[in-house]
């Protein structure tokens, strides 16, 4: 099993969009996916409730009062971390995670907060000891704009792996209320949008703890 924690203390950075999409990406690929909502607002749980039965199934876990025992036979677990958090609160979830995905928006308000958050993360033991990988995912990017260029520059400074960028598209808020993702929809446009997710998905797949035993000496 691979456990992914999606975390950023800044609200509105697309944490829930990313958590729900990652869960849907794994579920539609035929893997047994679970989505744990640890955010007070419960947006991920709302999304799961709205999810139609015809869509690839995702197990819902209510973790708003803290992490609970894991169900058996889960291949990929996505945790939507609490927003506006004290670091103490992330640590509990961090201990479970193989990867932390940190969404960041191209905005002068987000970058300093995210930068400070990444610094705090680096000081934590699992990350300092490289047991947990940290990936920064740029969200709602309008390609070719000045803010996009500045975000690229910010990425160079943070010292963590960038795992691509998600383009700003109206489809994301539109389908959120229906419990869907671009992975559930047909059509050429959605297919193109799915390509934005390839780097982060590949990054997560490579963080499989089962690989470490195999990789000895290789």
């Amino acid at each position: 099993m691979i456990t992914v924690l999606v975390a950023n203390p800044k609200g509105g950075c697309g944490k829930t969009t990313i958590a729900t999409h990652l869960a849907a990406a794994f579920a539609t690929a035929g893997l047994r996916a679970a989505l744990a909502d640890a955010d007070r607002q419960g947006s991920s749980l709302g999304w799961l409730q709205a999810r139609p039965e015809s869509a690839a199934p995702i197990q819902a876990l209510d973790w708003r009062d803290g992490a609970e025992k894991l169900p058996k036979d889960i291949d990929r677990l996505i945790v939507d971390a609490p927003a506006a958090i004290k670091l103490k609160k992330v640590e509990e979830f961090l201990a479970l995670a193989d990867v932390v995905v940190v969404p960041v928006l191209p905005s002068g308000f987000d970058e300093p907060v995210t930068g400070a958050f990444l610094k705090q993360l680096e000081a934590l033991k699992p990350i300092r000891k490289s047991r947990t990988a940290v990936a920064v995912l740029r969200n709602r990017v309008q390609t070719g704009t000045r803010t996009a260029a500045r975000l690229d520059k910010f990425m160079l400074g943070v010292g963590h792996t960038g795992v691509g960028r998600l383009r700003h598209r109206q489809v994301y808020p539109d389908i959120a209320a229906r419990g869907l993702s671009v992975f559930d929809l047909a059509g050429k446009q959605n297919e193109e949008l799915r390509e934005d997710w390839a780097p982060v998905l590949r990054y997560i797949e490579n963080a499989d703890p089962a690989m470490q035993a195999q990789a000895a000496g290789a």
């Binding site: 990406a25 893997l31 998905l201 797949e205 490579n206 690989m211 000496g217 290789a218």
Partner: protein
Amino acid sequence: MAKTPTGSPAAVETELKLCGEPAALERLWQASPLRAPETAAPRVKQLENVYYDTADLRLRKRGLAFRVRRDGNRFVQTVKSGDTAASAVMSRGEWEGELPSPDPQPDLVDDPTLRAAIGLLLPGELRPVFTTRVHREVVKLNGTDSLGRVKVIEAAFDRGEIEAAGQREPVAEIELELREGPPAALFDLALALQDVAPTQVETRSKSARGYALATGRRPAWQRAEPLDLDAQMSVDDALAAVLAACLRHWSANEAAARDGSDPEGVHQMRVGLRRFRSALSVFGKLLPARQVEWLKAEGKWALNVLGPARDWDVFQADLLAALEAARPQDADLAALRAAARERQALAYDHLRGALSSPRYTRLLLRLGGWLEDRAWRSPELTAEQKAALAQPLITLADTLLAKRHHQVMKRGKGFKKLATAERHQLRIAVKKLRYTTEFFRGLYPAKHSKDYLAALRDLQESLGHLNDVAVAEHLLVDLTEKSPPGSGARQLERAAGKVIGWYNRAVLDSEPEMRRTWKSFAATEPFWNKS
């Protein structure tokens, strides 16, 4: 058990592969017992396998092999797990299903465990990595073994090539696959074949070889797998699990040891062999004496085969490097480094020869069969031995740990005044205790054993300096005595003097550290249950 019908999930196959000189294999293939008068003529197949993976080789990293086989005009997709854990006998999960075209279709794999192991694949991400093409001849052998058990073995002779990234490597191997009957039957057959022509046991799968060719990577070394023992299991079951794990560990490192580009290969193979020997001394009293003696002797032989290579590796990487750092540009040391390199190369040649020898092949085959059959349960066992094998593991663990601990305390008594030879005795007792704790630590709560194990490890490390000196002296005496007289020899003698002097001094310097680690070990509470 071994048959894999189309689309069936996770069947386990048991097989054994022999490799060697093509002429020797050819001779084997034509001779009895593979060609008894009653066996039908071999079936012949031309097989082409294309192996697929992602660009970052995720399937390989997860221990999977994913291939599409062309067999005439049929296409069969196969996914195997556990492929990287090479051992003499490979047991692993497998899924197989027919395809309408040669294009791989990972979505067809409906076994949840294998599906989970494959993970997420992005569109178009699977691509061919290498191809194997073999001419295969197959015969089926039916019979009964000495105990009257039915055995059906399929023997296949593969000749052909592996191709990756424009490079080719020949393949010649005889594969014995058990279709029905006890696994020991495979070993018996392979042993009988050694009398016809000598071969080696092939521990690498074709896919492991293909990946090596495709990536240009040297064979990887492997750590020991964690032992999964529990307190209430019988000593008999524990013994079988421990010895089999040791065998898997050392044989998984054989390819890396032969290769020699990373000293860790020989090192890990020796760790596996040493754990094997210490398991025999832990459990030895419960087994028929004749069997234990043979296994101990052969294990020791294999360990000694690897010894010089390991010694010269350590000498260069650790012992000599420390001096070179302190005395850069020292011409004597440079001459010694060159001579050591030559010795190291000879030692590796020697080990490659020995690992290809009939003696080593027989050790693997006889040990493999002995473990499969639990052949220690023989009429030679005394009533006490039988009772001891049936008792719960925890009882034996408590007794043995107490005994080994006691021996260490006895040897270390009056540590300050112990002579070097006595300290060597203590070092060996500590090593034995260390291995015993490694086998049994999992039976006790980690929080009880933590301090003791840490103190034991520190003690073993600080006493290790004694061994550094002993090894350095032994190697250098050998080196200088065997070098032809002249100015080169005098240079080596001077260098040897510097090294030996340096490490004798280091032992003196480490005296306070040795005393400290001894005192702190002696003051640490044991973690097992006292009787």
